[in-house]
């Protein structure tokens, strides 16, 4: 990847994600998160009043970061990354992650990206931003 070949407005590759009971179990075990809304359907619906098992906000944050890491691979470093979980997502939903270049500084090789996760209704569930340094 060469910075001269990048342009503002350029889209990053889109990737779809569909969490399953198994993938959510593995994720919450890996980060040691025992919150019942991620595996106990009866509790989630009856006590916390969600329509279904909740997909972790930080898991969507990770998927968002992968939009960047899978795009830059070893051609750059992720310097900064931010996101906010604006809308809950539930087991059964297919989400997709993407982004675009919002600024390029060819003096410092810094590229700024807008990132998003959207649901099947094309609503942004998780917007984010990243700053990467492209290596020469």
């Amino acid at each position: 990847m060469k910075i001269a070949n990048l342009s503002v407005g350029q889209q990053l590759p889109i990737r779809h994600f569909k969490a399953s009971n198994v993938s959510l179990f593995c994720y919450n075990a890996a980060i040691w998160n025992p919150h019942r809304i991620h595996y106990d359907e009866k509790y989630t619906k009856e006590i916390e009043h969600h329509p279904d098992i909740v997909i972790d906000g930080p898991l969507q944050g990770d998927w968002l970061s992968q939009t960047v890491t899978n795009w830059i691979r070893d051609d750059g470093n992720l310097l900064e990354f931010s996101y906010s979980n604006r809308r809950a997502s539930y087991l059964g939903e297919t989400l997709y992650a993407g982004g675009e270049i919002t600024s390029i500084d060819s003096d410092t090789n810094i590229v700024v990206l807008y990132l998003y996760i959207k649901n099947e209704k094309d609503e942004v569930t998780t917007p984010g931003n990243a700053k990467v340094k492209i290596l020469n």
């Binding site: 593995c26 980060i31 990770d62 992720l78």
Partner: protein, 151 residues
Amino acid sequence: MNDLVSEEAQAWIGKSDDPVEVEVTRRDIIKYSIATEQRLDKYTSGDEAPPMFVAGLSREIIPIDDLGADGLPPASLVPDLPLRRVMAGGVSFRFHRPVKPGDVLIFNRTLSNIVGKEGKTGPLIFVTYSITCETKDGEAVLDQEQTRILR
């Protein structure tokens, strides 16, 4: 809107949890990478941790009997505030160097700010936590800021 945040609550600003020390293993990185469906070999082989691996690394591990009815450990660094509904705020990270197997990391979490504001739909309180992560040798790894919005 200073009346939203009492003097007693203000006094929580600057308070910290006890530092958390974590030894990173290749197996932990691989588990995380598989669970998050990483695509780069350096992550799935455990040679390097994906950027967000560190974000989930300092969660509290306490006996099962001490977990709440929701499954979570009791929250720490939570001052008494007049608004109770928690909305997701933002999370931001500044990365200094990648995490590798064998790293021994020290996490420090501080309640860094509490601000009351009048929002469009009523009063809001923003509670910000700062988390720093460095190696045991003092090398900076990551700075994180996390905001919770109460309404």
